[in-house]
Amino acid sequence: MSLSGLLTPAAIALAMLSVALLLAFVRLARGPSLPDRVIALDLVSILAAAIAATYAIAAEDAVFLDVAIVLALISFLGTVAFARFVERQGFNE
């Protein structure tokens, strides 16, 4: 099992994830309503977790998987908090 052998698919995966991250940021900036931005943010954090997991493969260091776990957790909590806020307050756009 060689390092460079697995680096290439990981590099491609990282590139695709970065493009997805960029697209999600565009939606974050553009989204006409608050829930749009919340969804974009949720996607950004999940993608960040995915990037961390992919990097765990690329760097052959499993500790990055813990980063992914924490990011997934935070993403969920953040989205739920936003959802409660939106429902209680309404939103002004």
Binding site: A20, A24, A53
Partner: protein, 277 residues
């Protein structure tokens, strides 16, 4: 072998994540964006984390990877549902191409709960003969006018489905083996229950106190080709209403006047023949 498998999973996961990003950008509506982003990204991160587990092939790492996958699979749908519900409730606009909004009017504004009771009178029972639900006439309102129309149509062997917002009337009709749906006919879900999309004619026999125009609009979204026969008692806006629908508008007072005039004219004619005037 491990390498190939984990590379493949990695590629699949990254593809789905990319699709999630594309979807969240390109979809025209908040809810469609949410569908794309949450579903695809959950699968994407699941596959990538699975690739990590296979790549390292150690028990500790595999356990953590499985825990991550389980956690994401359990929590991402919950989060998506919560934000979707909040967004719908707050009134985020749906895509213009939306034909039917099934949830409209179903939310209790105060308690924020979906107020859809399991009401047997709101849905047609499964035992209704399907032949009666095609090319039929939907009658909205079974009061003084609707009742006469309904009885006459049934006497002519035309199958009808009645929509009324009075439960007792619906109960009585069902007891007499007439298909009836309980609900407000300006809700598309009620019209769908009455199988409006397969009906031939819609008869609106409620007086103008109910919002007839809204009913007509809803009926048209459910079935654009339906012919509508409308009862009204208002002189105002007749031509607008007639242009809106394909069918006929009946002004109650006008029809009464016509019928009474005909009778009076006949009486005059017969009096003239009898020589007294």
């Amino acid at each position: 072998m491990n390498e190939i498998l984990s590379s493949a999973l990695l590629m699949i996961g990254a593809t789905f994540a990319l699709l999630a990003g594309v979807g969240v950008l390109r979809m025209p509506d908040l809810f469609m964006r949410m569908q794309a982003s949450t579903k695809a990204s959950t699968l994407g991160i699941g596959c990538i984390v699975g690739a990590v587990a296979i790549h390292f092939s150690e028990l500790a790492i595999t356990t953590r990877a499985l825990a991550t996958m389980l956690f994401v699979f359990l929590t991402a749908p919950v989060a998506a549902h919560m934000i979707a519900r909040a967004a719908y409730f707050v009134g985020v606009p749906l895509w213009e191409g939306t034909i039917i909004d099934e949830l409209r009017g179903q939310y209790d504004r105060r308690t924020h709960r979906l107020a859809r009771p399991d009401d047997p009178y709101a849905v047609l029972p499964m035992t209704v003969d399907l032949n009666r639900l095609a090319g039929h006439v939907v009658i909205v309102g079974y009061g003084r006018v609707g009742r006469r129309i309904g009885t006459a149509l049934m006497a002519n062997a035309i199958s009808i489905v009645v929509v009324d917002d009075n439960r007792e009337i619906v109960e009585k009709l069902r007891a007499n083996d007439v298909s009836a749906v309980f609900g407000n006919a300006s809700e598309p879900s009620v019209l769908i229950q009455a199988h409006l999309h397969q009906a031939r004619i819609l008869v609106i026999a409620v007086p103008d106190t109910v919002d007839v125009r809204r009913m007509v609009e809803m009926a048209r979204t459910v079935n654009p080709n339906i012919e509508t026969v409308v009862r009204t008692h208002r002189d105002f806006g007749l031509t607008a209403l007639e242009n809106d629908i394909s069918g006929k508008v009946f002004l109650g007072e006008h029809e009464l006047a016509v019928a009474m005039t005909r009778y009076v004219l006949e009486r005059y004619a017969s009096n003239a023949i009898n020589g007294s005037n």
